[in-house]
Symmetry: C2
Subunit: 251 residues, 2 copies
């Protein structure tokens, strides 16, 4: 399994991915699911991957080496003129892998399971964030729904639903994705440390932070401890129902 989350904020992008892959519970490994495509000052993109590792690695390879959309000449994420075209290119790369491996996988009962988050900006164009599905179609984050998730998304969603908005500052977004990841790590063993963080500030054309966060990272440890304590305190300060329902007949 995998958990990747990306925030689309007024001030920038915050993207976070775990690194665990597994083929059954007795065969786990560590693979980076965050791929950076950057020409500093000119363009900056980050791709997060979930699903079958052979598919996502094949897609990333094609995005470096060149993929054709329809009958056009091959393009790469370093040459596409817009983020929309970049999302289309990821879709084309997925379809390419499907045409190459999809039927053989299906014949042996392996689902063609892959999804991607692509965020970034090209100079002179808008900053955008897309989620691309395994058929190659995609959706885009908007100020109304300023985050996207792939993989094991449920455990880490409540905190995002309650707190994140388009106006959330980037440094607060970093806190939120770390809390969201922590909730997921605690509940699903197939999502695992270390985790990779990318932070982009709008119109920067290069990443501000690209960091591998390990178990021993003192900031992440602080976030985990602070959050657990805060939740315990918050529930401690809730009044009990007895006080509210005391005068009412219960049964």
């Amino acid at each position: 399994m995998t958990y990747c989350v990306a925030l689309f904020l007024k001030a920038g992008l915050v993207m976070l991915s775990d690194t665990r892959t597994n083929a059954g519970v007795d065969n786990i490994s560590t693979f980076c699911k965050m791929h950076r495509f950057e020409t500093p000052g000119e363009r900056c993109m980050v791709l997060l991957t979930a699903g079958n590792l052979s598919i996502s690695q094949s897609v990333v390879n094609r995005l470096h080496e060149g993929v054709s959309i329809g009958d056009a000449d091959p393009e790469t994420l370093a040459t596409v003129p817009s983020m929309f075209r970049a999302a289309q290119l990821v879709g084309a790369a997925i379809r390419d892998v499907y045409n190459s491996d999809g039927l053989a996988m299906k014949a042996q009962g392996v689902g063609f399971d892959a999804s991607f988050l692509l965020g970034g900006q090209i100079r002179g164009r808008g900053m955008r964030l897309f989620q691309i599905y395994s058929p190659g179609n995609f959706i885009e984050a908007t100020p109304e729904t300023p985050y996207l998730q792939i993989g094991e998304h449920k455990y880490g969603k409540p905190i995002l639903d309650r707190v994140v908005s388009y106006d959330t500052p980037v440094q607060d977004g970093v806190k939120l994705v770390l809390v969201s990841m922590d909730s997921t790590l605690r509940s699903n063993l197939s999502v695992g440390m270390p985790i990779d963080l990318a932070v982009y500030h709008r119109d920067d054309m290069q990443l501000r932070i690209h960091r591998r966060i390990t178990e021993t990272d003192s900031y992440f440890q602080h976030v985990r401890d602070h959050w657990s304590n805060a939740l315990r305190q918050s529930y401690g300060t809730l009044p009990t129902a007895d006080e509210w329902w005391a005068g009412e007949r219960q049964v």
Copy 2:
């Protein structure tokens, strides 16, 4: 979908269920998923149901009218001598429904999907909490893992994982299941209000609270507001990563 949760605490049981059923997103209804089997002073049991409504209703009917385990005479939840036998009886009722409807459902592509939480106590015996699966097999909550969930369990699990323990007082357990339900209600439209709460204190042989909680319940409203505000405050008081990682090279 459904969300049901039950806490197995040193001091008692706390059980909570939503009431939404749906056949597609355009056909939703309200059905009680909490069933009470009580002979005050002698025995007290609560059964929570998830899955296909026709299966759970048929199971509940059989538990009232009598089911045979193997070649034994028919029993009901009012006659079984122990909670273990009660869990077996729920399993036998599920198998009965499977034998009656399972093949016809399968022939039309409808999965035999049902799960149950059964908690309670019979005078002179221990208080117990079971989760019964659709094949009729079951597991039991223990002090080490003092809660069980059925249905849409993921959104409401992080708060339980972080806070609940066997020593949690019953009135604190009520807060926790309400917060857990609130997180689920916010994230999954197919889990819906009103909700039903049952609270049992060990050795009482009758429910202390059996309450339908609606949107206008002032305590539940307070819990929702308090919790949202507390989460926002907690994340507000987290230091930003900038302060911790300032001296380090990022990229």
